[in-house]
Symmetry: C2
Subunit: 209 residues, 2 copies
């Protein structure tokens, strides 16, 4: 939304002097209160200003783009996560690779006998193992996986954007979405760069806001 010069001016006045009454703003601009009413209504409705009875207008501190992205900032991981694919820590690297192709995923989560998270297998982990001179049917995945506590996790209530930032910072493709039990983490979801790409595309299609 584009603001007029007068509206920009009003924001400046309120920013410096708020809380300030409509009467006072009008005075500073040498305009009548009536002339100013539509502008103040617009700025309040759009979220730039807030008004309190008997106090006056004050600046919310929000820029136009901040207001635009407020909804995006509230997205939760659980609204975008996928179903996780897990393998037991004792399966062979060969079987893990087959599972990856069969399930059509890029990341596998590794669990122990109690179905608790113990590690993660990326395509690169599997690729690295497969070019070594080893028999892939003989090596269990727990030998080559990235193991706890070096696994980056997230929770379903986490903000989508924070999880996205972790994917970027850690240079990984997926995060396990976990639930915290007494004896470890249960894997209840998978959040991937594909989920975040979909979120962006859906945002553009107006499907999410």
């Amino acid at each position: 939304m584009d603001l007029t010069q007068r509206q920009e001016h009003i924001i400046e006045i309120v920013k410096e002097n708020g809380p300030i009454t409509g009467e006072n703003i009008a005075e500073r601009l040498s305009l009548t209160r009536a002339t100013l009413r539509p502008d103040l209504a617009i700025l309040t409705m759009a979220g730039y200003l807030d008004a309190r009875p008997r106090v006056g207008y004050f600046y919310t501190g929000k820029t136009g783009s901040e207001l635009l992205t407020e909804k995006l900032k509230k997205f939760k991981v659980q609204e975008f996560q996928s179903i996780p694919v897990v393998v037991h820590e004792n399966v062979s690297v060969y079987d893990a690779i087959c599972t990856m192709f069969l399930e059509d995923v890029g990341t596998l989560f590794v669990v122990n006998d109690h179905a608790k998270l113990v590690g993660v297998l990326s395509r690169k982990d599997l690729l690295r193992a497969s070019i070594g001179n080893q028999d892939l049917r003989e090596i269990p995945v727990h030998i080559i996986m990235t193991r706890m506590p070096n696994v980056t996790i997230c929770y379903k209530e986490d903000l989508l954007l924070e999880a996205g930032q972790m994917l970027i910072d850690k240079q990984i493709d997926a995060l396990p979405v976990v639930k915290n039990d007494e004896d470890g983490y249960e894997v209840i979801g998978r959040l991937t760069k594909t989920n975040l790409t979909k979120a962006l595309v859906e945002l553009g299609r107006d499907e999410r806001i």
Copy 2:
């Protein structure tokens, strides 16, 4: 931006009867033109309605969320693309895997003697080859790559969201950004799900709008 009941009502009236004068809208609502002025100003400024002198108000057909995402829809591939990593079609699968680790990318683009795009290598392509019983140092990548014309490409002027949709539809991690020459495609960039994840996170940080 939340609309009042009266503003929603005005939009309905204009949608059905536009172009319609402010006078006529006021009549239908049994209000004075002056009372309505702030509402009409807000709806016009926010982009829901448009006004033409001597014609009246008409509905722009834009919903609130459409207005919010208009900027996102204009993002171009070139604003987000990364540097491409290419290998020659005659290098071995083993060397390609090493290049992938050294360059820290998830997708390699394959070129011929004229530096034109002939194929793409994903981590899964390389993983599939590496579990076969073959000597990876003896197999050239052109044997295992996804080859033209089955490679999905994009141009730097393409819309980011359309490229993102292609990544999702084709279930791939990266698109080569190409330039069309007489004798083929020159690879000038790489657009990945990481780029799209970053775009979403930056959008949330108000860095892009």
